[in-house]
């Protein structure tokens, strides 16, 4: 058991909240939305969404990118009243980026819920040059900024919202195992 890997509960709305904001790096809202609760808002990432800050379409607001969504999230949480619950759904990089924004806005235990969903893609942190590599699908990845070929460890940093990548052939230069897809 890797202690640095967060464990995610299945998604459900927390009925003790007065308002609910669901942010997802996926294009569709999550299944199992409790429609008995009011004040539920869903932010999604649809790559073909409108290119300017958009009003709500019903209770759903599509963004063109995660970056745009997260920038709006920071703004939104700065104005939000207590009682809000934030649910971040998607890749681990996205949900911990969102959680870190929420913590900076003053949210904490009982207000932030994270749920991993979608393709098993990892953000990898090159421990040799500090470059972030997005959406890595296999456990051996070259760093685009330095010449290291990285082994993507299961060691996850919540602060960086990234997995640690370390030089795979540090001991025997050139000895690079075949890459494998992530099971989790």
């Amino acid at each position: 058991m890797n202690k640095s890997r967060p464990v995610y509960a299945p998604f459900k709305l927390d009925p003790s909240g007065a308002a609910h904001l669901i942010v997802t790096s996926l294009a569709a809202p999550p299944a199992g939305l409790d429609d008995t609760l009011s004040e539920v808002e869903v932010w999604t990432v649809a790559r073909t969404g409108p290119g300017i800050p958009v009003p709500m379409v019903g209770a759903q607001r599509p963004f063109r990118s995660r970056t745009e969504l997260l920038a709006q999230l920071e703004h939104r949480l700065g104005r939000a009243a207590i009682g809000l619950r934030l649910y971040a759904i998607g890749s681990e990089a996205f949900i911990w980026d969102a959680a870190n924004i929420a913590v900076a806005a003053g949210m904490g235990h009982g207000e932030i819920f994270t749920h991993q969903a979608g393709p098993r893609l990892r953000r990898v942190y090159c421990t040799h040059c500090r470059t972030m590599i997005e959406d890595v699908a296999v456990n051996i990845a070259p760093c685009p900024a330095c010449d290291a070929v990285l082994s993507v460890r299961d060691h996850f940093s919540r602060r960086l919202a990234a997995f640690m990548g370390v030089k795979v052939d540090a001991e025997v230069p050139g000895e690079i195992p075949a890459p494998e897809e992530f099971a989790t």
Binding site: S16, A18, A81, I82, G106, G108, G110, E111
Partner: protein
């Protein structure tokens, strides 16, 4: 440690400020309290009082003369004189300002103002304080309250729009409450109904719930039965019987005096156990909680 009363100031007929001095007083941050051992006709009382300021060569507390006093506040009001020396335990803190809060909403009623007087003097602590008191004590509390628009006095609880106040807070605010049990329970349930997460609600209670019916406590491991009188806590009754159960805050906040209840039904007055733990009735905080049944069997 033995500390001498250096000064006693009358703030109102029911409120006095006591200053204790001694050599090398340990530092105490905002929210700390002292436990004073107060002489009494039958036995020594151990009462906890919040420090109203950081130590500056002296500890300062404000004591209300409680009508149905169990002895402590009457002695301090009626018999204590400057120069008297009391046994005082070094300050403990179960109510320090939450560290990750950027703003603090402070709610107090009556003598519950005392820890927040220390909060208000803490540099860098951004707060909004709402204090409720009876109209006849408004003058005394106004004099105690910090100056400024962020400290507001309400002369009855209805004058404070608690719902609006709790609903409009931002995410970075933490709520701290100190006052009588009914005031705290009302504020807590209102805050929870507005979606405040329990992790952002902080409480300091003081032993106001010790009145009630007499009952007896059987102690399984000690093999004795102790009678608990009205106006006396289980903790005090056990101490009077020569036992030394673990305890720290004596106010239902710290969790140190938790005891397993093997038989009988406790009546909870603490803010430590969770709702489900209280409902199960399998444990109790003996410093403030009492019994519904005539007898309790405790695992001690």
């Amino acid at each position: 440690m033995n500390l001498a009363i250096a000064d006693i100031e009358t703030l109102s007929p029911g409120l006095k400020r006591f200053t204790f001095t001694g050599a090398e007083l340990p530092w105490a941050g905002p929210g700390s309290h002292l436990v004073l051992e107060i002489p009494g006709a039958e036995r020594t009382r151990k009462n906890a009082y919040s420090l109203i300021a950081a130590p500056d060569g002296a500890y300062r507390i404000v004591v209300r003369r409680v009508e149905r006093s169990r002895g402590g506040s009457h002695w301090l009001h009626d018999h204590a004189r400057p120069g008297d020396v009391l046994e005082v335990r070094a300050p403990q803190n179960f109510f320090h300002p939450p560290r990750n809060a950027k703003r603090h909403l402070l709610l107090s009623a009556g003598i519950g103002i005392t820890p927040f007087l220390a909060y208000a003097q803490t540099s860098g602590l951004v707060y909004e304080l709402h204090h409720c008191c009876k109209p006849e004590e408004a003058h005394s509390f106004r004099a105690l309250l910090p100056q400024g628009a962020n400290a507001v006095l309400h002369t009855n609880r209805e004058a404070l729009n608690l719902h609006g106040l709790l609903a409009r807070q931002k995410l970075e605010t933490h709520l701290s409450i100190c006052g009588p049990e009914s005031f705290m329970d009302h504020a807590i349930s209102l805050a929870k109904s507005l979606g405040w997460p329990p992790a952002k609600i902080h409480l300091e209670s003081f032993g106001s719930a010790n009145w009630g019916n007499p009952f007896s406590v059987r102690l399984k491991r000690s093999g004795i039965t102790v009678d608990v009188r009205p106006g006396e806590s289980v903790l005090e009754a056990l101490e009077a019987a020569g036992l030394n159960p673990p305890c720290l805050c004596r106010g239902g906040a710290c969790g140190e005096c938790r005891m397993s209840v093997l038989e009988g039904t406790p009546e909870h007055h603490d803010h430590y156990l969770s709702e489900s733990e209280k409902t199960s009735g399998k444990s109790m905080m003996i410093c403030v909680s009492r019994a519904i049944t005539p007898e309790l069997l405790l695992d001690f």
